[in-house]
Symmetry: C2
Subunit: 332 residues, 2 copies
């Protein structure tokens, strides 16, 4: 691939494009969580971003740079739901048509929300049809621009603006993070945030967090090459079911991340419940894996400053209600 990797200057340029459009989400601190983990824990609440996840950042940064003739022909994206909504919202605000290819098993709330934003939704069978092929065909038919979910320099730079805000907010508190744990599907958020965080804090240890069934980043960091997941699916974390790290994202994260954490679906459910009870936050499974890793995998944070991303909150009510009635399972 000859595409140039984005750097922190691209992330700063993206932040200028997003100013006044994206939500500058708060970096939350909970005394209860600090006491429990023994350190200082800051949670980047991207659940409050437009459409309920960080994905709007990358989508806006990509779409707003399209030339006028490309805008008129619209955009196509494939996504299990959060990238879909991010692209649909950016397209709505810019007044251009969007077509989203979604798996039939995407949460109903995400399908409905994407349609409500004015996008056309085209469904496919996960594992039986190629979403890449469907999206590429639609884009060719319509002359539309395909907007990748993560493996794109401008998408990565857009997601990185979340990391830039984390760095600014911590610096304003006079703090430098010892570690940052970022939810990883294709690795766009991790790559972008790593660019911003490693620039601001050269000593920070950046980790990915993934579901155990899709721990491609964790294994790829160990082997040094992009490892593929055994199967698509296998976890309740619908937002994180990408088959393997992206080529561009991995070129960035492999050099900047220390390692990857993998958490079980039970740990994710317990984290959803804990976030409900103690933090008063609604997380979706994929948006909870970084906090789940802090709670269950990282060990003592005594004397340390940690950051975790809460990357999305678009959870079906039925699944959420089931998590509330489930036993606390070690997270209590």
């Amino acid at each position: 691939m000859t595409v140039e990797l984005p750097d922190v200057a691209e992330v700063r340029a993206a932040a200028a494009r997003l100013a006044g459009v994206a939500v500058r989400t708060p970096l939350l601190n909970f005394p209860w969580l600090d006491e429990r983990l023994g350190g200082r824990v800051f949670l980047k609440a991207e659940i409050f971003q437009r459409t309920g996840s960080f994905k709007f950042r990358g989508a806006w940064n990509r779409l707003v740079q399209l030339p006028a003739e490309a805008r008129a022909r619209g955009v196509v994206a494939f996504s299990s739901g959060n990238h879909a909504q991010g692209v649909a919202e950016a397209a709505r605000l810019l007044g251009l048509p969007a077509t989203i290819v979604m798996p039939t098993d995407a949460p109903a709330i995400k399908q409905a929300a994407t349609r409500a934003l004015g996008a056309e939704v085209v469904l496919y069978q996960r594992g039986r049809e190629s979403r890449e092929a469907i999206a590429a065909r639609l884009a060719a038919e319509r002359g539309a621009t395909l907007v990748p979910a993560f493996d794109d320099p401008q998408v990565i730079a857009g997601q990185g603006t979340a990391g830039l805000e984390i760095a600014e907010d911590l610096a304003a508190l006079g703090l430098a993070p010892d570690l940052a744990v970022i939810c990883a599907g294709g690795g766009g958020l991790t790559a972008g945030c790593a660019l911003a965080l490693c620039d601001a804090f050269p000593e920070v240890a950046v980790y990915t967090a993934e579901p155990e069934a899709c721990d491609d980043h964790r294994r790829s960091f160990i082997s040094g090459r992009r490892e593929r997941n055994a199967e698509e699916g296998g976890s309740i974390c619908d937002a994180l079911l990408s088959p393997m790290p992206g080529e561009l994202t991995f070129a960035i994260t492999a050099r900047r991340c220390r390692a990857g954490f993998a958490v079980s679906d039970d740990e994710v459910r317990a984290t959803l419940r804990l976030a409900f009870e103690r933090l008063k936050l609604v997380l979706e499974p994929g948006g909870a894996v970084a906090l789940a890793a802090l709670l269950h995998r990282v060990g003592s944070l005594e004397g340390r400053v940690a950051v975790a991303t809460l990357s999305g909150g678009n959870v079906d009510p039925e699944l959420f209600a089931a998590c509330l009635s489930a036993p606390a399972a070690g997270a209590g």
Copy 2:
């Protein structure tokens, strides 16, 4: 009563006492909500305060000023749950014993949380026993200090620090609010916030929000004297079931509030669901009435800047799950 009413200087003094102890909660803005209501809406997220409601502010401001000999003998409070937890948490941090008188029908999550903070919980039958008498007896027996839930100058001043933070955050954005809607039980939060907001923004219209079954503030503002609710109870808003406005609080709010809004329990349920779906926030019924009033009672906010308090998030999981499966009922 010869007690002197607090003024905004008392609120500022309380803010200095709370600095570094209470959470400086964010003032959240959601583009989706702005689009829906046609104005700019800011939500003060006191659900992120220690113990999940604003009550810690007043409790800390009261307890931290107790002289050493009074601290050793401990404190007594009566509360359906949020004041209980606020007092218990302040007592825990200050290392003094707390006894809380709670009704047997207080949400289990609030009883358990109060005990988990180290307080002794004494239960009473709502409507059949006098919590005031039980608490007064306990305080006399133990030489402990009774900490009122709202009708106390230092408690009012402490709650007012939430209003001070709202004023600071809006001023930093270069905005002045046209209206502010504050959840009211006994009126402590409303009184304190009105002191701060009316000082910073003399033109702001401050309103209370209450459940229809306990709309004592709304009726009291109309009649000009403290009106009593027909019965204790009658709403799912367990945090707002005070029998009537406080004497001190009403002396402050009667001069500073324009009127009161009352919302139905169905509107509250719909607001809990909307906050879950769109804002990714967990609200308890009593903590949702101000937002419910904005959504259902205030009318168009076209061109206006509005503030509402999200005063608490301590909701039983069963009730919350039931709200998620309920029909959207006009809020959709």
